[in-house]
């Protein structure tokens, strides 16, 4: 129907003067944008299929290609934006639930960008991290509340199980199935090299990656895919996924078309069958029930591994976290509404949940007020974009951060946000063997290590500037932060003063 025709969002511009007519762009584009004219003479493009992933731009040997945003748009206004009109047309023609990828793109405030970091002047002088010791190692897990000695006065050192991170950043959960084998290989190798952890997500652990177990967090979600004794024992910690920032309150659904080969084997479900993760864990209706799952996992692994409970940042997050801190969990992971996803209903991604900055501040305050902050460590994720986001998160009260989108970008993701299609031209969010090959795990690992090494240097430098020589001393040190352009209510929730105060 004519009303359903929408002019393409992106247009391919081919500079004829540079194009050598080699046709590489045809092979590189899994979306089928580029093709040859019937007589074979010319390269043409079907702009309607372009998702602006920049693959052809980056691989064109003569740099003859450019993708531009189309300027043919609806007569939009501030209320009826182009997107809102386009979405109605899509739903009117299909009757479908809108499905998107990656985190909340709406123009809600990014509080990281409204927080400023302190530096020392005159008193409490800055520290030079290039020449003086600077500790970025952190330990995640329950902290003992007292020092215990035996009858001879010697320290009793049987501490609860914990994770040791050489820098306060881990790679967040992305399942095998939603991302490729090579992406997992790169994340696992990078975590091992960096002395941190990556997270299997809820799709099980491929047998080839068991050797990275000491740097692996294994996830248990409501679908329990690939969860069995060996899997639980393989990881350094077990994460119970209660929620995800991109889609709080709903489950997951990996379509049968992505359950192929090794993905099927790793998830332990037949090829082609949908992998449905129910919205709730059907054995958890209360904090007491959560405690039961926490302890059943601890029993199955003989109390040797810390248990993480991951929740989405929602309105009552502080009360929920208070419950989790009493459930026997060792670590709480909070995922903000900008956290990525391979697929989420658009409406939920864009409207449900709260910014992780506010959630973190509220949770840390609540746990301190109740005197149970040391029962758990806090890990936050949901669009941590750079080293200063990490610094600000720690100063607000986090023990460490989870990154996933940033890690994907390091591996080659160009944020076209079309993961749900399974056609990722960068070999990340796809199970097509031809596309997966495009991501070299060694190269991916090297780039992840580069990114984290750079962040670590920056973290040390900024901490040095504040006159702080360990991440542990920065944690919850909100005096190191000032808000800019925030209301008094926002400052109140964040627990920071305004710049100039």
């Amino acid at each position: 129907m004519q009303t359903d025709y929408i002019y393409p969002r992106f247009e391919v511009e081919r500079k004829e003067s540079r194009c050598s007519n080699c046709g590489l762009c045809i092979n590189e584009c899994s979306c089928g944008v580029h093709y040859r004219s019937k007589d074979g003479k010319y390269l043409l493009s079907d702009d309607s299929k372009c998702v602006n992933c920049q693959r052809c731009v980056a691989t064109c040997p003569t740099h003859a290609l450019k993708i531009v945003k189309s300027n043919c748009d609806f007569r939009e206004n501030s209320n009826w934006t182009s997107d809102s009109i386009r979405e109605i047309i899509k739903q009117a023609s299909s009757g479908g639930v809108l499905l998107s990828s990656m985190g909340n793109p709406q123009p809600f405030p990014v509080y990281w960008d409204k927080l400023l970091i302190n530096a020392s002047q005159v008193t409490n002088p800055p520290i030079d991290p290039l020449r003086e010791p600077m500790e970025t190692r952190v330990f995640l897990g329950r902290k003992p509340s007292e020092i215990r000695r035996n009858q001879h006065g010697q320290l009793i050192c049987d501490l609860p199980p914990r994770l040791t991170l050489e820098l306060p950043v881990m790679f967040s959960a992305m399942s095998y199935g939603s991302i490729s084998y090579n992406a997992h290989a790169a994340l696992a190798a990078a975590a091992a090299e960096l002395g941190t952890y990556y997270n299997t997500g809820e799709g099980g652990l491929h047998e080839n990656f068991y050797r990275f177990g000491n740097n692996t967090v294994v996830q248990v979600a409501s679908g329990r895919f690939g969860v069995h004794k060996d899997y639980l024992e393989a990881g350094a910690a077990i994460e119970i996924k209660m929620g995800q920032g991109a889609k709080p309150g709903i489950g997951g659904h990996l379509p049968g078309s992505k359950i192929v080969g090794d993905v099927s084997r790793t998830r332990m479900i037949p090829e082609g069958s949908d992998a449905i993760s129910p919205a709730p864990h059907h054995d958890i209706y209360s904090i007491e029930d959560l405690r039961q799952l926490v302890f059943s996992l601890k029993e199955a692994t003989e109390y040797k591994k810390p248990v993480i409970v991951k929740i989405a940042a929602v309105h009552n997050v502080a009360a929920i976290a208070s419950g989790i801190a009493r459930s026997g969990a060792d670590i709480i992971a909070i995922d903000g509404f900008r956290g990525g996803t391979g697929a989420a209903p658009t409406r939920i991604r864009d409207n449900v949940g709260i910014p992780v900055e506010l959630a973190l501040a509220a949770v840390d305050t609540r746990l301190r007020d109740e005197g149970i902050r040391n029962n758990v460590s806090l890990v936050v994720g949901g669009s941590i974009r750079n080293s200063t986001d990490v610094i600000k998160a720690i100063a607000l009260g986090a023990d460490a951060c989870y990154i996933a989108t940033a890690a994907l970008i390091a591996m080659g993701c160009h944020m076209c946000r079309n993961c749900q299609s399974g056609k990722c031209n960068w070999g990340i969010a796809t199970q097509n063997p031809q596309l997966v090959k495009r991501l070299d795990p060694e190269e991916g690992c090297r780039r992840l290590v580069n990114l984290m090494t750079a962040w670590k240097h920056e973290i040390m430098e900024i901490m040095g500037g504040m006159g702080i020589n360990s991440v542990e001393s920065l944690r919850g040190n909100r005096l190191m932060l000032r808000g800019i352009g925030l209301s008094s209510k926002e400052l109140d929730v964040l627990g920071v003063m305004h710049a100039g105060e």
Binding site: E87, K90, Q91, S94, G95, G96, V97, L98, L99, S100, S222, G223, R224, V227, H228, K229, L232, H253, P255, G256, S264, R265, M268, I269, P270, G272, S273, D274, I276, P278, H282, D283, Q292, L293, F295, S296, E299, A300, T301, E302, Y303, P345, T346, N418, Q420, S421
Partner: protein, 240 residues
């Protein structure tokens, strides 16, 4: 056989004793101790009394016999092995199990067999002698659930919304299930001889274990419920 007295110890210590025991165990005086046999790969555990929640969670090959009722989440995410309950079981029995067998002589609570799966050579089986609560086999993705309805109290064999979201596996109900309402994405039909052939061995084993007349149980029509599609939500979304 090692005898362990549940009353003399707490949850964690009891389970530690079970793990440490190199032989089969008998646990006596059990009153609600949780997580018994979690992740256990071999050996046999006999339980006198009533074990608590998450009995045999992640069970990996061991056999558990309960001389009494069991509570919630029996065999949660079980991979292999056997759990036999000479009584009733609570809610969510066999949640996400992918292998092994659970035999419950009496009734099961809500959400029995929820999200059961099967994979390659593994295909789990639950047999329930009595009736079960609502949401039987919700999200079922594989395996076989048999409900025999051997009670004579006149109550319906399953509660409401059985097989909601089912996308794999089979549910077999003894009787014609005429009073049961199924969702529209599954098909229920009288089981054929072929359908029953795969289940008969389990029913006979169940009857033999609990001393029930197998001819009485088998001499009856059965209703088989199967999903219409392994991809029930395929056409629900539009890419944005």
């Amino acid at each position: 056989m090692i005898i362990l007295n549940a009353r003399a110890t707490d949850n964690a210590a009891l389970n530690e004793s079970v793990r440490a025991a190199k032989d089969d165990c008998e646990i006596v005086g059990c009153i609600g101790e949780r997580f018994i046999g979690a992740g256990l790969s071999s050996r046999t555990i006999r339980i006198k009394g009533i074990p608590g929640n998450a009995l045999g969670a992640y069970l990996n090959g061991a056999k558990i016999f309960v001389d009494g009722n069991a509570q919630d989440a029996v065999g949660d995410t079980m991979n292999a092995g056997e759990i036999t309950i000479n009584g009733n079981a609570g809610d969510a029995a066999g949640y996400a199990m992918r292998g092994g067998k659970i035999y419950i002589k009496g009734n099961a609570g809500y959400r029995a067999g929820i999200h059961m799966k099967e994979y390659a050579g593994k295909s789990p089986v639950i047999v329930i002698g009595g009736r079960c609560g609502s949401f039987l086999g919700e999200y079922q993705a594989g395996g076989l659930i048999i409900v025999l309805g051997l009670n004579d109290d006149g109550k319906r064999i399953v509660g409401n919304f059985p097989c909601a979201g089912m996308h794999g596996g089979r549910v077999l109900l003894r009787g014609d299930a005429k009073d049961v309402v199924f969702p529209d994405k599954v098909t229920s039909a009288r089981a054929t001889a072929d359908d029953l052939a795969a289940a008969t061995a389990y029913i006979k084993e169940f009857c033999a274990y609990f001393g029930i007349d197998e001819n009485f149980v088998l001499d009856c029509p059965y209703t088989l419920i199967t999903p219409d599609s392994a991809n029930p939500y395929k056409r629900m979304y539009v890419e944005n």
